[in-house]
């Protein structure tokens, strides 16, 4: 159970809905993962006009919380306009805010992100900002009114997994009470388990499932990994040490040598 902007979600996995072989496989994958929320891109499906209603209604028929995103937006204005459109189409004030700074790496433009977050928070949106692991940017986003942060762990779609664990630890340490969702860069279930073991509240992913040979099987695997990582975190992990420690006492030898 996780609470985001006052809404309780039963699972700590959020799934994206792009790039699946078909909507039917998408639906099966979402079910297999036990995800509690799905993201959907409004802009990608607009094509300069309306017409994506059929796909959106397929997403809505999954009966999960919908987190519309502003994927593909490169400016504050674009992102704000897309967020407002998403609010009308999906009837939710949730918005995953992406302001892309580089077309090639899809790195967030953190300056535009903070500005757009302020505008949308003031307008009553529940903003889920896709950001880097930079602590100062995170503080600015919280000042702007965000109550959830979504740091990347590697570039979108890269499947690299956590490339800077120190930064992720430090983010968790600095913001102990803010729901932190790792968004982007996860490639395999073990990556998801790892960030959950670090104490992150949830993970959001898309490509690793959608582009798997069997998206449904991979979705199920991620669901289990997220649960495993969370339970491990709550159970208190043993810190690593650099000498062997037998799990049964060695008999007949002095304890301290």
């Amino acid at each position: 159970m996780i609470e985001l902007y006052g809404t309780k979600l039963p699972s700590r996995l959020l799934l994206g809905t792009a790039q699946y072989p078909s909507p039917a496989i998408l639906a099966d994958a979402v079910k297999a993962s036990c995800a509690s929320a799905v993201t959907v891109s409004l802009r990608r499906e607009m094509a300069g006009g309306k017409g994506g209603e059929k796909f959106w209604s397929l997403i809505q028929s999954l009966r999960l919380h919908i987190l519309p995103n502003t994927a593909g937006c490169h400016s504050v204005k674009e992102a704000v306009t897309t967020a407002k459109m998403a609010r009308e189409v999906f009837g939710t004030n949730w918005i995953k805010l992406e302001v892309i700074g580089n077309h090639d790496t899809l790195q967030p433009d953190v300056f535009g992100l903070v500005e757009a977050a302020r505008i949308l928070c003031d307008d009553g949106f529940a903003v889920f900002p896709y950001t880097t692991d930079d602590l100062v940017v995170a503080e600015r986003l919280l000042e702007a009114g965000c109550r959830v942060l979504m740091p990347w762990c590697a570039p979108i779609g890269s499947a690299l997994g956590p490339v800077n664990i120190t930064a992720l630890r430090s983010m968790r340490g600095h913001f102990p009470d803010v729901p932190l969702i790792v968004d982007a860069g996860l490639g395999r279930p073990s990556h998801a388990a790892l960030v959950m073991e670090l104490g992150f509240d949830a993970v959001l992913l898309n490509t690793a499932v959608a582009k798997a040979a069997d998206p449904v099987g991979m979705a199920r695997a991620f669901g289990k990994a997220v649960d495993a990582g969370r339970e491990a975190y709550r159970s208190g992990l043993l810190e690593p040490r650099d000498l062997a420690v037998p799990s049964t006492p060695t008999i007949g030898r002095a304890v301290f040598q």
């Binding site: 072989p21 078909s22 909507p23 039917a24 094509a47 300069g48 006009g49 994506g52 059929k54 582009k211």
Partner: protein, 333 residues
């Protein structure tokens, strides 16, 4: 038996051929005033079931592997059997491995073999995949030729008519794609370009893999190339977007800089009719048999669908559905 085929896209034309060749008196009714303007007209014309298997399910390969033979037999001279060449930029080399692991019927080719297959691409790519059994055709020429052949063999074409008021037929074959009233269909918009340059020639479709923007280039007659195609979950028939053109041209330019000097002869938008599993269906509803949901596989799957529809009309009243087979395969995958 008197049959009315509604729709003169690739589904309607192939169905008319199968039905007429089994002895039916066929009339084709098309609301448009000619052959163009539908999704088939915008198609790439690749008969590439092994490549498609990368993202499509097994029935697409099973139903599509004989498509080149069908087209070759019906329209001799229209099919080019030269395979498909799949390439990636050096930084996306991992995409080749991923594509190879999801598909069959290919072999790895190195720089020298790529140069032998496509001399104009010599030195530009280090690694690739070659799918030797695949083929391609020019959809517009194929549709025009099939139209001519059907008309010559007694099939009646009625263009610019509303088939609602046409009566006196034993059965109807609904091949109207997105214009069908089937609520289960959704539209998947595709954007394409036709380029012309005498500075480069290709013998076969070339696919350029990219994690976000895959592209194919298919050679056509008189130095023309078709570059496609985007996939957007939308029914919008608005003109091609700047982004789509930029991405398609960028990819074409990456295949060969000569495309930088090519003329953009045409930009086009088509809406692919698709069911939620992206697989086609042939179904009987009373006196009507419907072929629909060919998605991005019109020329590849229309022959098999046409045969199934003809079986349904002539041999049996049992519906032929792919959905059950597919669900089973998906679950066991």
């Amino acid at each position: 038996m008197r049959l009315l085929v509604k729709g003169a896209g690739v589904a309607g034309l192939t169905a008319a051929f199968e039905l007429a060749s089994r002895g039916a008196a066929v009339t084709i009714a098309e609301t448009r005033h000619g052959l163009g303007g539908n999704a088939s007209w915008m198609a790439g014309g690749m008969l590439a079931p092994w490549c498609e298997r990368e993202s499509a399910e097994q029935p697409v390969l099973d139903l599509g592997r004989d498509a080149a033979d069908w087209w070759d037999a019906v329209l001799p001279g229209h099919v080019t059997r030269a395979g498909t060449l799949v390439l990636a930029m050096p930084r996306d080399a991992g995409e080749l491995d991923r594509f190879a692991s999801r598909t069959s019927g290919h072999r790895r080719v190195d720089e020298d073999e790529i140069a032998l297959l496509e001399p104009d691409l010599a030195g530009r790519f280090r690694r690739g995949l070659f799918f030797p059994s695949e083929a391609h055709l020019d959809p517009r020429r194929a549709m025009a030729a099939l139209h001519e052949k059907l008309a010559g063999s007694g099939v009646e074409f009625r263009f610019g008519v509303n088939a609602l008021h046409m009566t006196g037929f034993d059965r109807e074959i609904d091949c109207t794609g997105m214009a069908s009233s089937d609520e289960r269909l959704r539209g998947v918009r595709g954007e394409m370009l036709i380029l012309r340059t005498p500075d480069i020639s290709l013998s076969r479709p070339v696919r350029l893999l990219h994690p976000r923007l895959p592209l194919y280039l298919t050679p056509r007659a008189d130095h023309h190339f078709m570059a496609g195609a985007t996939m957007v979950e939308s029914l919008s028939t608005e003109p091609v977007t700047v982004r789509a053109i930029m991405e398609l041209l960028n990819a074409a330019y990456s295949v060969h800089p000569a495309f930088g000097e090519a003329a953009i002869v045409e930009t086009g938008v088509g809406i692919r009719p698709a069911f939620s599993d992206n697989l086609p269906r042939v179904e009987a509803h009373g006196r009507t048999v419907a072929i629909n949901g060919l998605y991005r596989h019109g020329f590849l799957l229309a022959p098999a669908m046409a045969r199934r529809a003809a079986d349904l009309v002539f041999d049996s009243d049992k519906p032929v559905e792919l959905a059950d087979e597919t669900d089973g395969q998906r679950r066991s995958a």
